[in-house]
Amino acid sequence: MKMAEAREIIANRQLAAILFMMRTTVVISFVPLLTTGNAAQDAWAAGLIAGLLLTLAAWGIAELAARYPRLTVVDYSRMLLGRFLGTIVSLVISWHFLLIAATDIRIYAELMRVAFMPNTPIWFTIVAMAFLASLAAWFGIEPIGRAADAFLPIFAAFVALTLLGAVPSFNVHNLQPALARGLRPVLSSVWTPLGIGLQWISAGMLFPFLIPQNRRVHSVVLAAVLPSAVLAVVAAMLVGVLGTDLGSKSLFPFLKMARSVRPTRTIERIEILGTVAWGLGLFAGGSTMVYCGSRALSQILRITEYRKIVPVFGVLVALYSMYAYKDAFQLVRFFRPPGFPLLIALTAGVPYALMWASHIARHLLRRRTGRQDR
């Protein structure tokens, strides 16, 4: 089933807002730049390198999608790789959407359990968030896009205010010596944040719905650049405030920072700002992932109406979120390199490399034989 009849549309700006919030949310949650490698005081540099690589990956995803502007990644994967291999790739991509939504929700649920509601069962937070994401996905990508539009200023303001509140506690000595240990420790912190850029495959699903069409690639790439810059700033601020040891050993360093500072004598507590921003970002990201996953599965299963899949996908997200990770320790282990980055490289990097290779081969063949494209 092709997506030529797609009726839903969202603005490029809205997709950029969704991707921005989704990445910023997950990456500021446990700050993998600090917690998954040895970059320590050079985490900001790791953030910039990860951002650069993510921008390249985003460009690769968007450019391929731009070659097939009316098709989703499910359509052109089967076209480029053949029905069998393409279906397997499409199923893996659907699993990616499930993985992202479930893991994001689980991280948020762990935050709630550890920091705010220790007695509330974790299933409750997971079910509540999965339900909200599914509900939004059921209504469609347009309401999600509009919600992202509405949330973005609040999200950005809350993250910025949290950082601003931490400025009085910032100590530049914590960032020194800068880049003194060579490139290897910096690179060790690059791979997990880069792997989390798996979120960009949603652009492959949403590409046919984006308007205006001539700015689609630009928006997807810009959405990778902006959060990378934000993350480098967040990493520098976290190290400046918490130091390398406390920062890298905290479960949720951003929250730790917000709870450890007292900006003024009248405004003493600011962690709620970051937590609310996180919730908004999770809603935007989770609902988009449920939407994309349901769309992908409905295409694979040849079901015309994707909404029939949404409740099932929502239940899968909740179950995966609850049972894939036994506890916070396992969640932390999951993101550790080399396991997580390798998993993403194999399940997303390789299929995209194959699709690009097939596309180039087809293009060259077509030029040689003088055939016109469709």
Partner: protein, 418 residues
Amino acid sequence: MRLSAALVALCLALASAGCWDRKEPDDMVFAVALGFDIDDDGDYVAIAQFANPVAVKGGVGPSSQPAGSAPFWTNCAKGRTPFDALANLSPALSREMTVSNIEVLLISERLAKRGIAPIMDLVARDNELRLAVSTAVVDGSLKSLLESQFPEDPIPALSIQRMLNPIHFIDPSAMSPGLLQSITDMLRPGQDLLLPALRFSAGAVSESGEERGPDRESDSSSNSRSAMDSTSPGSPVTHIGSAAFHRDKMIGWLDGHESRGANFARTRGQHAPISVQSPAGGLVSIHVAQVESTVTPRYMNEDVSVLIKVKVEGHVQGQTGLEEGQAGVNFANPESLRDLRSCLAQCVREDIEHALAKSREYRSDFIGLGNAVYRRLPRVWKAGIGGRWYELLPYVQVQVEVEATLTSSGLLRESLHY
């Protein structure tokens, strides 16, 4: 479908108000100060001071409180770990204890000498305790201190917090860096912790019977009043300088001047009163209002040396020696001003040198000379200096350069003639 979805969302919203984690303020009791000690058996002792909002309501002072409605009370419990001790406070309470509002965290001298890492671990790990609270080491009975009344505030924790807070700006001793700063200091390579010290005055006998707190005879010969004399009348506690640590263990005390010197070198103390010899006789009091320092390490011929450059800025607050028609200092005279600046610089230099001497004696790098080497000369640090820094510390050459500026002579251009 939309209606049912909305209904389910509504139910979730209602449930998310917190059935499992609901906390009714009426059912809670709020700790405002927390102290940790250790007993002879090695058990941790937690002492909590609780506020009684009903008694404090309306600004009624403690003296006019009817019996049984004091504005605060304390509770004490033991445990094998700091958390055990904290949890053991609960059985004696009819309400649920919360420590999310504590203002100060106090540590006894005995526990500080044993090691404060378990306390820091608890505070960094706990979801209620915050790293924004002020911390100090107590010389004397911690329990008695937390049970004492203060004249300024009905709740003693508030008084102690204000003593340790930058609002108490004229105190020449170390200000509390806050727990966050303390923990980052402890974890930073080549840097040791310096915590403010409080002395409990009533029957102040060190429980350990060891070296008494930072009393110093040399203070009498110093150029400014000792911090030990600056207690508010009736206050059971005095802010007396600092406790120097090596890693997580307290090594010894620093008096007010040594603390001030350490803070000048670290740009942490911004305000201090200093009295210098006046060129016209008597003393001139200067309020140092701005301090900026840089610590620059150098490595030559396999030797580390350090240059501490300090810029201090102050204004004249008063002078003595005006009796019998003496004119006092002529502030319009550049030579007099130069002499005053020179005397001020000398005082600051002496304070820093006293702090350095204590740092060498204790082998505690609370000024952060090692950290400066780590930050500015990372290759030297990694090449072996870092591994034997504390062996080298007493022998590191330190040069102190102070540049003093006087910005004004207060609201008088010249001294008054009597």
